[in-house]
Amino acid sequence: MSQLVTRQGKKITLKPREYELLEYLMRHAGQVVTRTMLLEDVWDFHFDPQTSVVESHISRLRSKIDRGFPVELLATIRGAGYRLGGD
């Protein structure tokens, strides 16, 4: 299975976990996804990590898909979670 990600024709290289995270966010595009949803659905973690697992991956993903582009796609919703695209 090939995992090719492009934005405005620019190729973006993602690691497997980053790709899965992006895929999940795209399937829920425009919706707010919580940290717990991400942990359970992307990582299959059914416990509360003591390190910033979600934050680190979001930050890494954001740096790859949003850096250098005028519009930020991946938004942090304060106190709720994250949203890809939409308002």
């Binding site: 990582w43 059914h46 416990f47 509360d48 990590p49 003591q50 390190t51 680190s56 991956h57």
Partner: protein, 445 residues
Amino acid sequence: MERRTGGRLVNTTSFRLALMGATLSALAACIVFAIIYFATAGSLRAQLDRDIRNEIAELPAAGPPVLLRQAVDQAVQDAPPNLFYALVAADGQKLAGNIRPARIYPGWHTYRADRDRLPPKIDAMRGFAVQILNGSILLVAENASALVDLNEIIIQAFGFGFGLTLLLGLAGGALVGRASLRQIEAISAASREIMAGDLSRRIEPPGRGDEYDHLAASLNAMLARIERLMGEVRNATNDIAHDMRSPLARLRETLELARRRALDKSEFDMVIDESLVQLDECLSRFSAMLRLAQIETGSRRAGFATIDLSALLRNLAETYEIVAEEGGQSLTHDIAPGSFIEGDRDLLNQLFANLIENAIRHAGPTAHIDLHAQGRIVHITDDGPGIPSTEHARIFQRFVRLDQSRHSPGSGLGLAIVAAIAELHDAHVRIENRHPGVMIEIDFG
């Protein structure tokens, strides 16, 4: 009380065993007496019968009646005092001989002084009668007093021996049963007293190295475990109360300060965010405690499945590689593929995540962490400050936080959960100092 003991005595195992033993010895006594009987009385009787047959054979029973009568008369004169003869005509008239029993017909007879009229000083007689051609009956009998006496002696001895065996067996059983009942009663009385009061007390073993000592030892081991568990529960309660106090106290302080000050909207938002963080910390401690309790019940074992340990570890390594890198640390991995174990995927994820996170949180800002797996053995190594050897045994207990991490957030339950999950999977956990750093080994055996 005495009656109750007596009633239960019959129900004790040792009494039942004694009863069975007594029955078996009584049966053995029967067999011994049967052998004695046939060896003595039996052979005596056979001797008598042989004598009588010989005597009859010497008389001309098939000859003319007159000759037979003369022969009988002669025999009566010559015979030793223990032999007796009778020749009775078909009409019952005595023709010759020195006895005249009432019962006289062909075949073997035993005559006894109390039933039949016998010569003086003779208690019993054994005889054989034959019918001869003209219908008369010829009887030869021999004094059988000795045989009857012997029979009586044997029967008396048998009765006495049998009764004594049975009595001794029963008495022995009663004694043994009573003694064992007393021991058991002492042990259960001690148990009741201990349960009612002082859990640190122990049962005094009788000290003879027998089953009662084993029983007392097992019960004492059980009591020690109960005492330790109760201590743990007490400690856990203390620890939980102690542990929950600080975040809750901080929360209260935050709220109180916010109330005293006049606040604008943005400050208000900040206070709420801060409060939420503190509440989340409390909640995460509670969920860690519940998680630990749930793991320790062992109920998850029912849902064990075959898990690709290599794939699970690779996923974790790929996940935490990024977490470590974002914090300025690094994480490498060397995981041999194709290792499968029986286990619970969620719990195994948590086990290794807890260990990796522990390294990320405590090994320092530029630490290097390595995840290595070969077969059923997994190593997680860091190059941080390490863990003092004296603390190695302690860090897997609940709520234990080493001084250096006393003030960092965390439930103090992460490694306790690791230990519980490892135990659930029959895995062995080992810590080794690496100078610098520490290596934790999980061996699934």
